[in-house]
């Protein structure tokens, strides 16, 4: 349990909120009782928002792998949606506990913004992969490549270090300086920082939405879709070494 009163308050409100929401879900048919519960739920949400907003400076607590001191006076700004699951009923998903987290993106922290990124031995696309980093993985910059003429040919690559201490290269287009917020087992991270600095994984168009679309003839042109073929296409994998050979054989620039 945290000794931080701000965090403790957040957690307490979250727990109350979850309890109220479960009560609402369990209740039958619209009643005054449910209306009252919903009002309490909303009030708790507001209380939590205000509590976090007012308590932010100096109270942010690193959690869930995103750590570090953030800029002074940073603002609380976003909530996260869970990473999408196969379940289409989001209302059944557990409410998320809320832990303020400060972004330290200014201190050379980056997040993987694609489904999986290869940490490569060299700053080349078809260099052997040292490790596969999943969406939302936090890495720290070791040095910036391509910042001077001597390493201009490496522009676009960043040497990074994983939480496990492994160093390698990732292409910049696989990274973002914004914080990728992915729900862990039961936590949600609130991130401080400037506006537009958060990527909410699994929000919006997701596998849940795709599932509904796939199963709704009214939406998909009466089944004029072939996701199985798309899955097959996506399953095609070519080893980096084979691409390297292909390029050499064809006389491509290496």
């Amino acid at each position: 349990m945290s000794r931080d009163p701000s965090k403790a308050m957040s957690v307490a409100i979250s727990i109350c909120q979850e309890a109220v929401f479960q009560s609402i879900s369990a209740a039958s048919r619209p009643t005054r009782c449910r209306g009252a519960l919903m009002t309490v739920f909303l009030a708790l949400q507001i209380a939590l928002a205000l509590q976090i907003a007012l308590a932010l400076p100096g109270s942010a607590v690193a959690q869930g792998g995103v750590q570090g001191a953030g800029p002074q006076g940073a603002e609380q700004k976003a909530s996260a949606s869970p990473v999408s699951t196969q379940s289409a009923d989001l209302s059944k998903q557990p409410s998320l506990s809320k832990q303020p987290v400060q972004s330290d993106s200014n201190a050379g922290v980056f997040f993987v913004e694609i489904r999986s990124a290869a940490l490569r031995r060299e700053a080349k696309h078809w260099s052997p992969s040292l490790e596969t980093l999943e969406y939302g993985t936090r890495v720290t910059s070791v040095e910036q490549l391509g910042s001077n003429s001597e390493v201009a040919d490496l522009a676009g690559w960043k040497k990074v270090k994983t939480a496990g201490g492994k160093e390698g290269f990732i292409h910049l287009t696989a990274l973002t300086s914004r914080v990728v917020v992915i729900r862990g087992s039961d936590t949600q991270q609130f991130v401080s920082g400037n506006e537009q600095e958060v990527v909410l994984a699994g929000r919006g168009f997701s596998s849940d939405v795709e599932s509904l679309y796939r199963d709704s003839p009214d939406l998909n042109g009466n089944g004029e879709i072939d996701f199985a073929a798309v899955d097959t296409i996506e399953s095609v994998r070519i080893a980096p070494e084979r691409i390297d050979v292909f390029m050499r054989e064809g006389g491509f620039t290496l």
């Binding site: 909303l42 609380q76 070519i238 292909f246 064809g250």
Partner: protein
């Protein structure tokens, strides 16, 4: 500080309010609205403010009043907060849109099943991708042959790239195929699929995404998002296969292809070769002929860049025979046309 609190509060109000529309609709069943795709956007947009949900008119209204939230702030909570929280499509969302567009394209044309040919096409495509300005997309780049005799190539958002059987049979060598792929890769990197979505639709897309931000959601919200998703996929597919992208996008893709091919060391001979093929058969119907500007106009727009950058690198020149040989080997694996 207050602004942030209000913004965050707005997202919560939206999610809780919509949840309320499912839970508190007086006497009504919790059913998803049945609309056509074209109606989806306006419906999704209105879902935050009015309609049967009446989010702010029942319990929500009283709660807001209780906390002294005035109408202008309510409006802010409904619109600005949501839109600002999700002001752009994420790469993940672009990927899911692309998957659905690809599923529609495949359903229309079918896929040529040839592991050898797919392997070759993927190796060539990925080689070229490494010279692009965006070599990493959320789900990666994928390549396949669609089973149509028309001369065509299309790309779906996120990196799904298709070339037609007719195109493969109509071009001369790997350099021309590289030019076609480079053009399609440029469409992907410049997000032409997403950018071709109309402004009104995009507003609905962003709002639908915003509704799913909150920690509490419901099936009604998800249904609304799926409606918007379907309508957006319809629009992209229509732009891709029927209307074609704008001329501006096509010229952008040509310029991007030129740069990519030059970086790869291949020069622009392949691109010029494709233009010649198009010129000689421009009376043909469908595919690239109907969705792209004329090849002469495209060459004119590219202008001197096409000539100045035409020469391949020494290495590429020395390996031209190898490229042609493997192209011919791959094409030999193309199954006979069903028609």
């Amino acid at each position: 500080m207050r602004r942030v609190a209000v913004r965050w509060f707005g997202c919560l109000v939206a999610s809780v309010g919509l949840n309320g529309c499912a839970l508190f609709n007086s006497g009504g069943e919790q059913t998803a609205p049945q609309q056509s795709g074209s109606e989806a956007v306006s419906d999704a947009s209105s879902a935050t403010s009015d309609g049967d949900g009446n989010i702010f008119s029942s319990f929500g209204e009283s709660v807001l009043d209780f906390f002294g939230v005035t109408p202008p702030v309510k409006e802010f909570a409904q619109s600005e907060a949501i839109v600002e929280a999700t002001n752009t499509l994420s790469r993940e969302e672009e990927y899911y849109l692309g998957r659905a567009v690809a599923a529609r394209v495949i359903a229309k044309y079918g896929i040529v099943s040839s592991p050898e040919l797919t392997d070759y096409l993927t190796k060539l495509g990925l080689s070229l991708v490494s010279f692009s300005e965006k070599p990493e997309t959320f789900g990666g780049y994928h390549f396949a042959v669609i089973d149509t005799d028309s001369f065509n190539a299309v790309s779906a958002p996120g990196g799904f790239i298709f070339v037609s059987r007719g195109l493969l049979e109509g071009i001369a060598d790997e350099d021309e195929l590289s030019a076609v792929l480079a053009h399609e890769i440029s469409h992907v990197t410049q997000q032409h699929g997403i950018r071709s979505i109309s402004q009104d639709r995009m507003q609905g897309v962003l709002e639908a995404a915003g509704l799913l931000v909150g920690s509490v959601s419901c099936n009604v919200v998800l249904q609304q998002a799926a409606l918007v998703f379907g309508a957006t996929v319809d629009e992209i597919v229509d732009n891709l296969l029927e209307k074609g992208y704008s001329r501006e996008f096509e010229f952008e893709a040509d310029r991007g292809a030129t740069m990519l091919l030059v970086k790869a060391g291949l020069g622009t001979e392949g691109l010029k070769g494709v233009f010649l093929v198009l010129q000689s058969t421009e009376s043909g119907a469908g595919g690239w002929f109907s969705t792209h500007p004329s090849s002469s106009e495209r060459q004119e727009v590219l202008g001197s860049a096409l000539d100045l950058e035409r020469a391949p690198s020494m290495s590429a020149l020395q390996h031209k025979a190898q490229r042609l040989a493997r192209f011919n080997t791959a094409l030999a694996a193309l199954p006979a046309s069903r028609s």
